[in-house]
């Protein structure tokens, strides 16, 4: 069976609780806050893949995903600037955690707005847009069937209770370890695991066995 107890970024902990990546990140953030634009670009490049992973399940199109990424970064940077202005963090700037939280909140709001629009215009889609990864061009019946199946799977995850949905997004999409998931959501690690278990059982019951 799997030897990977916590697959994901594989952060190496230092005695002081700070990883080298975290210290580098703090230095970059500090440099940006005093006006270093290169540091800003480096921070965006470093976290862009993570933010994309967090939002793409909620985005109806690649442009949607880009918009969510952009807003996530802008809000997280604004949080960092304000926190530094208040000097409330004592030098530790949890930028990555802010990014995760902001991305999840924006994605949730995006999903809510999308559902609202879908209700207002029932002729569009089946209550939810298909996955961004689905080719939406006119296609033969087989491809249409695949698109419908993808939309059904997407809806199944997005319709999970909020906590379960967040844990599934962070675990399956962003591939974060449960310790980091718990930290980002402000819950115990055990609670994050239990939420994942419940989500998995619920999805299993809802999606049903595929094989005959």
């Amino acid at each position: 069976m799997s030897d990977q107890q916590t697959p994901g970024p594989g952060l190496r902990l230092l005695p002081g609780g700070q990883t080298p990546e975290r210290r580098e990140e703090d230095a970059l953030l500090g440099a940006w806050l005093v006006g270093d634009d290169e540091a800003f670009g480096e921070l965006v490049a470093r976290h862009q893949p993570l933010v994309l992973k967090l939002v793409r399940r909620y985005a109806a199109s690649p442009e949607d995903a880009r918009d969510l990424c952009q807003r996530t970064f802008l809000r997280a940077f604004e949080s960092a600037r304000r926190a530094l202005g208040r000097q409330q963090l004592g030098g530790a700037l949890p930028f990555r955690r802010w990014l995760v939280r902001v991305a999840l909140n924006l994605a949730k709001n995006h999903r809510r707005d999308e559902t609202r629009w879908a209700r207002a215009e029932p002729a569009v889609g089946h209550g939810a847009a298909p996955s961004p990864l689905v080719n939406q061009a006119p296609s033969p019946p087989e491809a249409m069937q695949r698109a419908e199946e993808a939309a059904r799977l997407r809806r199944a995850v997005l319709d999970l209770p909020r906590r379960q949905r967040e844990v599934v997004t962070l675990r399956l999409d962003a591939e974060l370890p449960f310790a980091e998931i718990a930290e980002a959501l402000g819950i115990a690690e055990g609670a994050a695991r239990v939420a994942f278990h419940h989500a998995l059982l619920r999805l299993r019951a809802e999606l049903g066995p595929r094989s005959p």
Binding site: S2, D3, G41, L52, V168, D173, F196, L203, L207
Partner: protein
Amino acid sequence: MSACPAMQPSLLDRAAGLLSAAAGRELDEHLASCAACRAEAGALDETLGLIRLPPPGADELRALEGLGPDLLRARQAGRARAATWQRLAAGAAVAAAVLAALALPAFWRPTPQVGEAELLAARAAAEAAAWAPPDPDELLAVAELVWPASDPAGPDLGVGGSTRAAMGVEDVLLGAAEEWSELFPAAE
């Protein structure tokens, strides 16, 4: 046929990638001999396979090109807008202060600082000057209304109490008029 209840947590941990090597080996041994748990493990794997997203496609990655520079420009534009607003606000504040300084002498009138005790004394003096003793003739006219002079015995209403009461009123009023006349002879 459902999985062994005792093994369910291990099956879920396995699906979540949380099993240690030792626990994984133990579960493998059980799966080799238990068809129900094997089926459950397969169903969980299949569910995970269904909901797991494929890696980002070329169109998604293309849409993200230039995100960093765009964000930087957006932040710089935001800072420039904020600085412009700050400059405008500061200019407006200075202009308002100058206008206020110029207009103040035209509208400002010094008001004397009067104490509360002085104010009360002045009010009492004004009330005393305005006071005048009541006119005895008016009081007698009121008494006439109550008890007309043409009927010295008063109206016989058949109620002794009312007559006595009317007499009492006249006596009181006449007595008061006499006292006021003695006290304030100038008013006569």
